[in-house]
């Protein structure tokens, strides 16, 4: 008979193997990300920059871009996993609660109102995106407090998303070409917009969010087996509230700095469950963050198209990568469910 001990040991071994593999992939992609690009800094110079130009390209462009991709990929995947657990739905992602749409509305208002033309920095856009996405989160909770089930929260989030989208459409219709271009570029997503200070702020935020969620991993597992229903209703509502706030704040900051990055948040947790073949949050949480970081760097590498003088929007690449994964997993699953 296969004993529980045997199964648990096997799962732990599989997890460790995958983590090792992912770390190697991240190192490999990171070296590629630092050495490829139109600026002409070679692979050798990554480890030993010869002149000021190479140092500048590495320190001011490529390293922040790599750190941003790692951070944002991990953060969005983490946020997606948390929301998929809360809503017990593998097709839920960070964009469904209307938080990304709130950020879009904030950025649309700033760009269309011409605030950004007074300043060369991205600060007004980032500030507006954070304020509006947090506003959406507060609105969501003020409404959702009246509902007992999570599905209603999801529906309210989607409705808020449509509402914000409608206002953005009106602003787009009324805007001039420059503002429209600025907003459209923001909406395409990019890992090139964060400086070291901003990376540090978002890293600390993600670390705090991760530690809080990881400490609740056992409760999240209990939530999946219905242990918090009925008699533990208060504990369940506290957990759901905490998880939605954490996923919401994480998504808000990421979207504010990098624009709405598509499909990473939905696809990566599913892919991690698929390779690990388990749903234990003790393994899924670190695994999802590492896989998200690796995939984001890979997508950024592809979007930069180092073989060409042109580059693609990151959003296009993440969608091209994420959508087939979801479709593949739906068909791969024996029962046609995720």
């Amino acid at each position: 008979m296969t004993s529980i001990k045997h199964i648990l040991l096997r799962e732990k071994r599989r997890f460790r193997l995958w983590m090792l593999l992912l770390l190697l992939i991240i190192v490999l992609f990171s070296i590629l990300e630092l050495s490829l690009g139109s600026a002409g800094v070679s692979f050798v110079e990554v480890f030993n920059p010869q002149d000021d130009y190479s140092k500048f390209v590495l320190q001011e462009i490529r390293i922040p871009r790599l750190l941003t991709a790692l951070l944002i990929g991990g953060a969005l995947s983490f946020s997606g996993l948390v929301l998929q657990t809360v809503f017990r739905n593998p097709l839920v992602g960070p964009s469904v609660l209307g938080i990304s749409s709130g950020a879009s509305l904030g950025v649309a208002l700033v760009t269309m109102a011409g605030v950004s033309s007074f300043s060369n920095s991205d600060v007004p856009k980032v500030f507006a995106a954070i304020v509006f996405s947090m506003g959406v989160l507060l609105l969501l909770f003020s409404v959702a407090g009246r509902f007992r089930d999570n599905a209603s929260v999801l529906i309210v989030g989607m409705l808020i998303s449509y509402l914000a989208g409608a206002v953005v459409d009106i602003l787009i219709f009324m805007s001039d070409n420059d503002a429209l271009k600025e907003f459209t570029l923001w909406g395409m997503g990019s890992f090139s917009r964060m400086n070291y200070g901003e990376i540090l702020v978002v890293s600390v935020l993600l670390l705090i969010a991760y530690v809080i969620v990881y400490r609740n991993r056992h409760l999240m597992n209990l939530y999946l087996i219905g242990e918090l229903d009925e008699v533990n209703e208060k504990k369940k509502r506290r957990l759901v509230f905490l998880l939605i706030i954490i996923a919401g704040v994480t998504t808000a900051f990421v979207t504010a700095f990098c624009g709405p990055i598509a499909f990473i948040g939905i696809a990566i947790p599913n892919l991690m469950r698929f390779v690990l073949k388990i749903s234990d949050h003790k393994y899924l949480l670190p695994g999802t963050v590492l896989l998200g970081a690796a995939v984001a760097v890979m997508c950024d590498l592809l979007s930069a198209m180092p073989w060409s003088d042109h580059s693609l929007p990151v959003n296009a690449v993440t969608s091209l990568f994420g959508i087939p994964i979801i479709v593949f997993m739906i068909f791969k699953s024996r029962h046609k469910t995720l």
Binding site: E227, E230, V231, S279, D280
Partner: protein, 234 residues
């Protein structure tokens, strides 16, 4: 070890379903609770688990008022299997079991062997690595009961445990309940409408009727009178 109640009154929103009921149940006993739908069987379980406050009276575990127990202490003593449980369909069976077990138990060799013993007792070793959605309703019920036993609680509350089980599986469950109560000293409460199942495993019967509870050590007698009452009402 014993569970006792002194003039307990329980129900929803301060509206009593049961009035002034006193009892004492020693460990190792199997108590069957009978009653029509809405009579208060599940409400009694929820009250024990702390999901619904007791309206009046005192519930004692080994002479200690259970309202003085912390949430986790209470959940170490009592564990409840509702009639319907929402379990994430994609989970593997072994995950349902390990998620149920207290975290510290999974680290000890001895406790892992005990988990294997429960798995054998419930006869679920052949589908440990299947996903929950691949199981039949009867298999799911057995897994849910096994998951409940992983908690190693002293008092087990089973709400309609025989639902979805065929005759053979019901017999296995009766055997498991007897083994748990007589050999492991567990106190087991069963709420069920399946009179044959109750006859096979209960030591004591409680019948909730019109906000009163009738306690009878003779299971056959109370089942006869309960069955007569239902037939008369129909």
């Amino acid at each position: 070890m014993s569970l006792s109640g002194e003039n307990i009154v329980f129900g929803y929103d301060a509206k009593p379903l049961v009035n002034a009921f006193s009892f004492e149940v020693q460990s190792g006993k199997v108590v069957a609770i009978l009653g029509l739908n809405g009579s208060g069987k599940t409400t009694f379980f929820k009250t024990l688990m702390g999901g619904i406050p007791l309206i009046d009276g005192t519930l004692l575990w080994n002479g200690k008022d259970i309202k003085d127990l912390s949430f986790s202490e209470r959940h170490q003593i009592f564990s409840w299997l509702p009639a319907r449980k929402v379990i994430e369909e994609r989970l593997k069976v072994f995950e349902v079991l390990t998620f149920s077990a207290p975290v510290n138990l999974l680290k000890q060799e001895e406790d892992l062997s005990e988990m294997d013993e429960v798995i054998r007792l419930m006869g679920i070793e052949s589908f440990l690595e299947k996903s929950y959605h691949e199981l039949s309703e009867g298999q799911k019920k057995k897994v849910e009961i096994a998951a409940l036993l992983m908690k190693k609680s002293s008092v087990i509350l089973l709400d309609e445990p025989s639902v979805f089980l065929d005759i053979a599986n019901q017999a296995d469950l009766v055997k498991a309940i007897k083994q748990l109560s007589k050999e492991k000293g567990k106190t087991i409460f069963i709420s069920s409408h399946n009179l044959d199942f109750i006859r096979s495993c209960a030591d004591v019967c409680w019948e909730i009727s019109g906000s009163q509870v009738v306690v009878n050590d003779s299971v056959a007698d109370i089942l006869m009178s309960y069955s007569d009452n239902i037939n008369r009402d129909c």
